[in-house]
Amino acid sequence: MFLYEQDPPVPSAKSNVLRFLDVARRFPGRTAGAPPFTAVRDLSFEVNESEFVSIVGPSGCGKSTLLNMIAGLDRPSEGTVSLHGVEVVGPNSSVGFMLQKDLLLPWRTVLHNVEFGLEARNMEAGARRERALQELKRCRITEFADRYPYQISGGQRQRAALARTLAIDPDVVLLDEPFSALDAQTKLILQKSFAGTIAVAGLTTLLITHDLSEAVAMSDRILVMSDGPGRIVDEIEVGLPDRDNPIARLAMPRATEIVKHLFHALHIDNRLDA
């Protein structure tokens, strides 16, 4: 608390939605008597209303641990994770998360998949359906509403997964490498599609990615994590226009500079093992 008084006050007109305060997560050692394994430590950061923040870092830096703690599937060993000032102690329906795998249920049509998240609530079937259709429209996949997941392409499946994620009206959207399983072209198109949807809806978003240019193209702010145990080593304000159009953004010279900076920050040039 004293630290905040000494530091120059951070200009945050918008309230923060998500907040990590000195969070650490340790897991018991594999064998009895082994020291506990620290996945992440000293994590402190905030994500503001309608902000798009990316987290980049080497594999195994605890990004999934971080995500699980926000979703309430896991709890920190130290510190607190809070949403709108309320500590996260278990799963809650104000977080929408999306993984590399689309996690669509193969036995449901796209429409029914989008309804899935709403079924946890006591919602009337008609209202649920209407809500799902609205979301399909926003993610531009209305024409595939009655298809089964195997009948649509990888990019369309991810759009359906986004629609399902957004259908529950989450306060914060967590994207865990949602584009990494796609081919290069689909990836660009989908990034643009997601960026547009997120910008229009004004969603608070946390993107976890390996792809440095993706982070630069899509976010307002980038947090760089180190590996073993994961902590934040760098923070970059992207400060570029066109957040809703990643392709246009990547063409800017400043974008290339940031990617280069990230490249060095992660020591990718002198890493031998991956």
Partner: protein, 283 residues
Amino acid sequence: MSNEADTTTRTRLPLRVFSARAVWQSGTSAPAASLALAVLVLLAWQYLPPMFGVPKYIIPRVSDLWNEMIRMWFQENLLRHFISTASMSILGFVLGGLLGAVAGYALGLLPTWEKVLSPYILALQIAPKVAFAPLFILWFGYNAWPKLIVTVLVVFFPILVNVLQAMRIMDRDLINLARAYNMSKTKIFLKVMLPYSMPNLLAGLRIGATLAVIGITVGELVGGEIGLGYLISFGQGQANTSMVFDAIGLLTVIGVIMYWAVTSVENRILHYLPRAVGAQRSP
């Protein structure tokens, strides 16, 4: 005009070559070939054994089988035996399937219990269940229980193992997704686990459907006075080979009908799987 006609004939020629293959692939000629094969085998069965001097009590001819079938219908109350075996098979299948599925889901949800019980499950799975039939007769006497219990046991394990397998390979991320949506455990089971395990459950039921007939038959062979299995052992005592053949044939019919019933249910339920659309419906 003439030029136009020329091109149509030219394009038609390779089309015809392809159409033969198309007919084959469309699945109309494969059943026809199967039927032709059946006719050939029946003809060979009818005429080859007498040509080589094989006596009727070793290999009865097709016409003998038919005559015996008619005789059994009128004199041995064949319908009663057939219905007994069929209904007991179905009953055993349904009971074994239900118990197997319930046990599979229960053990899948309780991994600790599964670990404790898994060596015994394996042992019981390997043990030839039909060998228990005499034991059950000693315990329960000459009634319907021994064969029913044998059948339930025979059907139980493949379904248990299949369901358990599905619960083990379940995508944890799917469960986590449902948990993150704040779904209750019951809802997660009904909306994620149960449908996820459906292909495995149905594969188990498909195996179970064929095994049920075996279970009942063994029970009837070992001790009973009704059913097609009883007719087999009766026919054997009388050196009535035709009777044995006929009963085997009818048992197969029961098995095939049960298998077919399960597959058609399976195709209906698993319509969302890409392979179920073309590959499984063709036969």
